[in-house]
């Protein structure tokens, strides 16, 4: 016990001023910075989406040049994937992984600091890639986030900056993933065996492993792109003996598992929230863990379903089609497990639970359109239409973003020590859900009717669908001002949160985070708790 007291002498109150954040090695501070960073990026990426929807309110060119429009589409996607969802999930992991496994901090605290501070650097590079074309940097990056050659070899200097952005983001997320996986494997409290871990921890373990497997492949792919642009190689240049389709394979080898990188943390959050507000232990915990493992393995080997139109042999497309459809089995299992957790539970409908239920409904819908897209002959028809846009926004906004919102509302009392305003939370839920559906539901119809994606102009028969979509997008976008207001209000004050603000939070799970005060002390679990 003497070591414990000397330990406390080392750590006084949190350091003050800017240095606290710049040199921070504290998992809670770094988690907070990740979350704030992703919230800022959400507004930048969201602002770009608003510009895109404003341009598409009418057919014809309104106020965006075609290249600039395509640049906005590209950067919107990259910001939302790499700047919003991944940092927010990493921020949540930073906060909650040590608290949920009873560890004093992450395994590699200084590496943690580095992996966060690479993100603002990457964001600056990304913004520069948007800005340089205005100052003689050539054509903007107009390829879409997939960066397919030969177009990506032909665009201007912005492309180089974007490649460096990808490198920086890749290093950041690989370091974060190594850190989180190491923490989960090595720093669990005594008695907390793997099969007792909260589902969020399992979800992040799989996410971390996926990131370590796929991010280096993307880094390799964009490095080859850089070589093709500047160093005379012909990896992807058909004239020099290369093959542009090879880049598509490399990109989607990363790109498809990336979907699960975005999705799994939110599935983990659901696995904590649904039992809490159903006041029942999670149904089929083991099957959920195995289901995520199967999802990881299947997700790694079905990438070419994004490329049915490249001219693969029938055998290859069949393989990718069947593999893709098989994915609906583990995903369906997860959704049914959540529904059976709710079955005959004593449910209450606080904001996190409302989000959780909405996610199950809307994500199932994305799964249905996903199976439609997986079927080769149907996909040849839907390929590159707004049907695809509707599908992946239904997958990623409920599947990833709303899961993170649910997590924010669920853990905000723990993080800040204050309860958020429940009425405002519910208003935000309905506002944002209605806005989201209004935006993306009509895109199924315009897509099925043949409206191609990533094009600044469209044929006049799609006007109505696009106007509904744009109005929905403005409603959806505006709702986030309320989200920020709720967060600021909660941080600044409000009803004092109990250590365990949710009655059912420890049902069927050790729930170590709820044994700490709200907010938890700056240094927590210096003596590891014991789990029976």
């Amino acid at each position: 016990m003497s070591t414990t007291t000397t330990h406390e002498d080392h750590h006084h109150a949190p350091p003050t001023g800017f240095g606290r954040w710049l040199f921070s090695t504290n998992h809670k501070d770094i988690g907070t910075m990740y979350l704030i960073f992703s919230l800022i990026m959400l507004f930048i990426g969201g602002g770009m989406a608003m510009l895109i929807r404003a341009e598409l309110f009418y057919p014809g060119l309104q106020f965006l040049e075609p290249d600039l429009f395509n640049n906005l589409v590209t950067v919107h996607a990259i910001i939302m994937v790499f700047g919003v969802v991944m940092p927010a999930a990493a921020g949540m992991a930073n906060w909650m992984v040590p608290l949920q496994i009873g560890a004093p901090d992450m395994a590699l605290p200084r590496l943690n600091n580095l992996s966060f501070w690479l993100l603002p650097a990457a964001a600056i590079l990304l913004m520069l890639s948007v800005i340089v074309p205005f100052f003689g940097g050539g054509t903007p990056v107009n390829t879409g986030w997939t960066l397919y050659p030969p177009l990506s070899i032909q665009s201007g200097m912005g492309m180089d900056l974007l490649i460096f952005t990808m490198h920086t983001l890749g290093i950041s997320s690989i370091l974060a993933a190594i850190n989180i996986v190491t923490t989960i494997i090595n720093m669990r409290a005594p008695g907390l065996t793997m099969m007792k871990l909260p589902l969020f921890i399992w979800a992040w373990l799989f996410t971390g492993i996926l990131l370590i497997m796929i991010m280096p492949a993307l880094a390799g792919g964009v490095t080859m792109l850089l070589f093709d642009r500047h160093f005379g190689t012909s990896f992807f240049d058909a004239a020099g003996g290369g093959d542009p389709v090879l880049f598509q394979h490399l990109f989607w080898f990363f790109g498809h598992p990336e979907v699960y990188v975005l999705l799994l943390p939110s599935i983990g959050v659901l696995g904590v929230i649904v039992p809490t507000f159903s006041r029942k232990p999670l149904f089929g915990y083991k099957s959920l863990v195995w289901g995520m493992g199967v999802l990881l393995l299947l997700g790694m080997v079905v990438w070419a379903h994004h490329q049915y139109t490249i001219g693969m042999s029938v055998a290859a497309t069949n393989y990718f089609m069947i593999g893709t459809i098989l994915i609906s089995i583990p995903v369906g299992l997860m959704l049914f497990n959540f529904m059976l957790t709710m079955w005959r539970g004593a449910m209450t409908f606080e904001t996190p639970m409302l989000f959780a239920i909405a996610i199950i409904v809307m994500f199932s819908f994305a799964g249905t359109t996903g199976v439609m897209l997986a079927v080769v002959p149907a996909d040849l028809q839907y390929h590159d239409t707004y049907f695809v846009v509707a599908h992946f926004h239904y997958a990623l906004i409920p599947g990833a973003l709303f899961g993170l919102y649910a997590g924010v509302f669920f853990w905000l009392p723990k993080w800040t020590g204050h309860m958020y305003n429940e009425t405002l939370g519910k208003i935000f839920f309905w506002w944002t859900t209605i806005g989201f559906n209004l935006t993306f539901f009509p895109q199924h119809f315009s897509g099925l009717a043949g409206m191609p994606r990533r094009i600044v102009d469209y044929s006049v028969q799609f006007v109505e669908f696009n106007q509904i979509s744009s109005i929905g997008a403005f409603i959806f976008g505006l709702s986030h001002l309320l989200f920020v207001y709720i967060i600021i209000q909660t941080v600044r004050g409000g009803e004092k949160a109990a250590d365990k603000p949710w009655e059912g939070a420890q049902i069927g799970t050790p729930g170590l985070e709820w044994t700490l005060s709200s907010p938890p002390p700056f240094h927590s679990f210096e003596t590891p708790p014991t789990v029976k």
Partner: protein, 217 residues
């Protein structure tokens, strides 16, 4: 509870942390290498399994087992359409001598593609073929094609580039029209090509098209 008991535990903890980090870092490096290993592996897998058989490059080399004896000429009429595309904004002209012809399977056919270099620089071009529908790819046998090699064009030079092919009588019955499409590309992507250089990368490969092209078949 005393320090003697705690220290060894902490030491094991640190050692296993190091081992985990080392393993994960190794995976990272291997996966980065994997991306580059994909370049030769991809070609190998495609050529061994033929999963990429439909892809454009498959028509780039001399056909094997060409059947040209007259007794195998069938009575079917196949329309062959020709298409030409110029890659990038370069000052060239590129078009087939005929848009479409009707041939019989087994019959040897010769046409040509006209190309002119309007720029004031010599260029080395490479044409990349593509066949639609893809099922016809392996039945369109090329005896001679300008796409087998790079073609050099002096400034202002024009030429007709020959193409000789036979359609295999085993062409599936449901195919009556084949489109043969060529995209012509600049292999050295020189900076000074005029007039529109906006969309051409400023630095490019002075590359090795002729050395590499046969690896693609």
């Amino acid at each position: 509870m005393n320090e003697l008991n705690q220290d060894p535990q902490q030491e094991t903890g640190k050692r296993s942390t190091k081992r985990t980090v080392a393993t994960l870092a190794l995976v990272t490096i291997l996966m980065f290498g994997f991306a580059f290993a994909m370049v030769p592996l991809y070609r190998l897998v495609c050529s061994v399994t033929g999963i990429n058989s439909i892809a454009t490059n498959s028509g780039r080399t001399l056909a094997e087992n060409i059947v040209t004896t007259t007794d195998t000429v069938s009575e079917r009429n196949i329309t062959v359409q020709f298409d030409a595309t110029i890659n990038g904004n370069v000052a060239w002209e590129f078009r087939p001598s005929v848009r479409s012809i009707v041939v019989k399977p087994g019959e040897k056919t010769t046409i040509s593609y006209y190309v002119k270099n309007h720029s004031d620089e010599a260029v080395v071009t490479q044409s990349i073929p593509g066949v639609t529908p893809w099922q016809a790819t392996k039945h369109l046998k090329k005896i001679e094609c300008f796409c087998f090699d790079t073609q050099t064009l002096q400034a202002g030079e024009a030429k007709d580039m020959g193409l000789q092919f036979v359609i295999d009588p085993e062409l599936p019955d449901d195919i009556s029209t084949i489109t043969l499409s060529y995209t012509i590309m600049d292999t050295n992507r020189s900076e000074s090509l005029t007039p529109n250089t906006d969309n051409i990368p400023t630095v490019g490969s002075d590359s090795t098209a002729s050395n590499n092209k046969n690896t693609n078949s």
